[in-house]
């Protein structure tokens, strides 16, 4: 294999005229972090809400939640992002749709990617939350109701705080999935990390160096997330409850 290794390529100026290839990658990393964190926060809020509705004693609410989970889990992420990017602006009232289409880049790609990723992830978070609530013994709920808490208070003060602590390990891996999945944003034109590596490779022809750099950056992000979440898990571990409390959460 006669490949021309040039590791100094990162210091060469990139054709976008704004700096070196290294800078291109760092900016890409910035967008990866921005998309992942925004989508994750939104996914947590939606996922906890939907996961809770899935377990409440109200048929309408739990049917709605089940429908939400099945829908956003069954459509590929790429298709969901396309729906938010291509389809939703067309279905909105003309004025609003045009305003969305007129958004300055990269925001026009950023928001559809964030919303698409968030809704996709919310279905998976909701399943974890449901499992976290259902894994607690019935006595918890009954005791809370018996001391006079309303259903809402039971969830707010008893079931949900426990559920979140129980499902922290699977949530960690969901968060890492979110970071990896944020790369799909490149399909609607966002120059996140994977896209930055691809554009660097297209202009410099140093394919190996570009993708190796992106791979190493993803590995480092992973390591940071794992260490941070492990510290959080230790801090929030429920005393007397060991190991993986949640099993078979997928279906």
């Amino acid at each position: 294999m006669n490949y021309d290794w040039t590791w100094s390529v990162f210091l060469e100026p990139s054709p976008d005229g704004r700096g070196t290839y290294l800078q291109t990658l760092v900016e890409g990393l910035g967008w990866t972090v921005a998309v992942s964190l925004s989508a994750w926060v939104l996914a947590l809020v939606l996922g906890i809400a939907v996961g809770t509705l899935r377990t409440v004693p109200h048929r309408g609410a739990s049917v709605f939640a089940a429908f939400w989970i099945e829908t956003f889990r069954s459509i590929p992420l790429l298709v969901q992002i396309f729906l938010w990017y291509f389809v939703v602006p067309e279905l909105l009232p003309a004025g609003l749709g045009d305003a969305i289409k007129a958004m300055r880049p990269p925001w026009g790609s950023f928001w559809p990617a964030v919303i698409g990723l968030a809704f996709f992830t919310s279905a998976r978070v909701a399943e974890q939350v449901r499992a976290g609530i259902e894994s607690q013994s019935r006595g918890q709920r009954h005791a809370a109701l018996a001391v006079g808490l309303t259903v809402a208070q039971t969830y707010r003060y008893v079931l949900l705080p426990m559920a979140v602590r129980i499902i922290l390990p699977p949530l960690t891996s969901e968060f890492m999935n979110t970071i990896k999945n944020s790369s799909v944003a490149l399909t609607v034109g966002l120059l996140e990390l994977t896209a930055a590596a691809r554009s660097m490779q297209e202009f410099s022809f140093q394919v190996f160096e570009a993708f190796a750099a992106a791979t190493v950056i993803y590995l480092v992000i992973n390591a940071i997330v794992v260490l941070a979440m492990r510290a959080l898990e230790r801090k929030l571990a429920v005393p007397g409850l060991h190991g993986q409390a949640v099993r078979g959460t997928r279906k």
Binding site: M1, Y3, E70, T71, R73, S74, I75, P76, L77, L78, V79, Q80, F82, L83, F86, V87, E90, L91, L92, A94, G97, M176, K180, N181, S182, S183, V184, L186, T187, T194, A197, R198, Q201, V207, F208, F211, A214, T215, Y218, L219, N222, R250, K251
Partner: protein, 230 residues
């Protein structure tokens, strides 16, 4: 909504979408799932082996593969497969590999890492006593694995394996970045040609949703049937 929804474009393009697009998607899913399960089982056996020389590379492979986005893997292999093919065939120059085989290799290698973790959990779910009993009646390690442990492991992990295959079915849509005509690629082509992206993407979403929902219902039913009552 600026223009009316055109159902006709869906009806007109349906034969193309399914005969061309869906056929590619399903073929890729099946081949990559079979290849992934085979390679994944090998990786799991390596990873559980007491020999460091085997367990280390397998662990490294699985962990790296699971840490990077599938899209990055697709780009990596689009670049590497021609070199790898040249090396395999002893050619001097990178060989031409079609888009189809590139994507089969890519998804097989990627899914193998995920199937390896499933297989490892499956193998570990078989009680240790089974292996001990197999040794006691005189089986070698290979025989014990093949005839005693793996059949039970596969039965335990079948539902998770199929669920992962549904995820794979969805993930194959990412061949979009290689401009391949899978189901989504076919929908995109028709949508761009006729200026009907809204209709085509809504239809694609509905088809994926229905197929995946039905498949996951099927898996849930299977899960109850294959469960080993202890």
């Amino acid at each position: 909504m600026s223009v009316s929804f055109d159902f006709d474009v869906i009806l007109r393009s349906a034969p193309y979408l399914f005969a061309e697009g869906m056929r590619f998607t399903v073929t890729l899913t099946v081949l990559a799932a079979l290849g992934g399960v085979f390679l994944g089982t090998l990786l799991a056996l390596m990873r559980l082996s007491p020999t460091r020389l085997l367990s280390w590379p397998a662990a490294l492979y699985v962990n790296v593969m699971r840490s990077i986005p599938l899209l990055l893997v697709i780009f990596w292999l689009y670049f590497l497969v021609p070199y790898f093919g040249a090396w395999l065939l002893g050619e001097d120059r990178p060989i031409q590999v079609g888009a189809f085989w590139t994507s089969v290799v890519t998804f097989t290698l990627f899914e193998a890492a995920y199937f390896a973790e499933i297989a490892r959990a499956g193998i570990q779910s078989v009680p240790r006593g089974q292996l001990g009993a197999a040794y006691a009646i005189g089986l070698t390690h290979g025989q014990a694995m093949r005839d005693v442990v793996l059949p039970q492991a596969f039965r335990n992990m079948l539902p998770v394996l199929l669920t992962q295959t549904i995820v794979l079915f969805q993930d194959t849509s990412l061949v979009y970045v290689l401009s391949i005509t899978d189901f989504l690629g076919a929908a995109t082509k028709v949508g761009q040609r006729d200026g009907r992206l809204v209709e085509m993407y809504v239809f694609a979403a509905v088809v994926y949703a229905v197929v995946c929902y039905l498949l996951s219902r099927l898996v849930r039913r299977l899960e109850r049937r294959v469960a080993i009552i202890r």
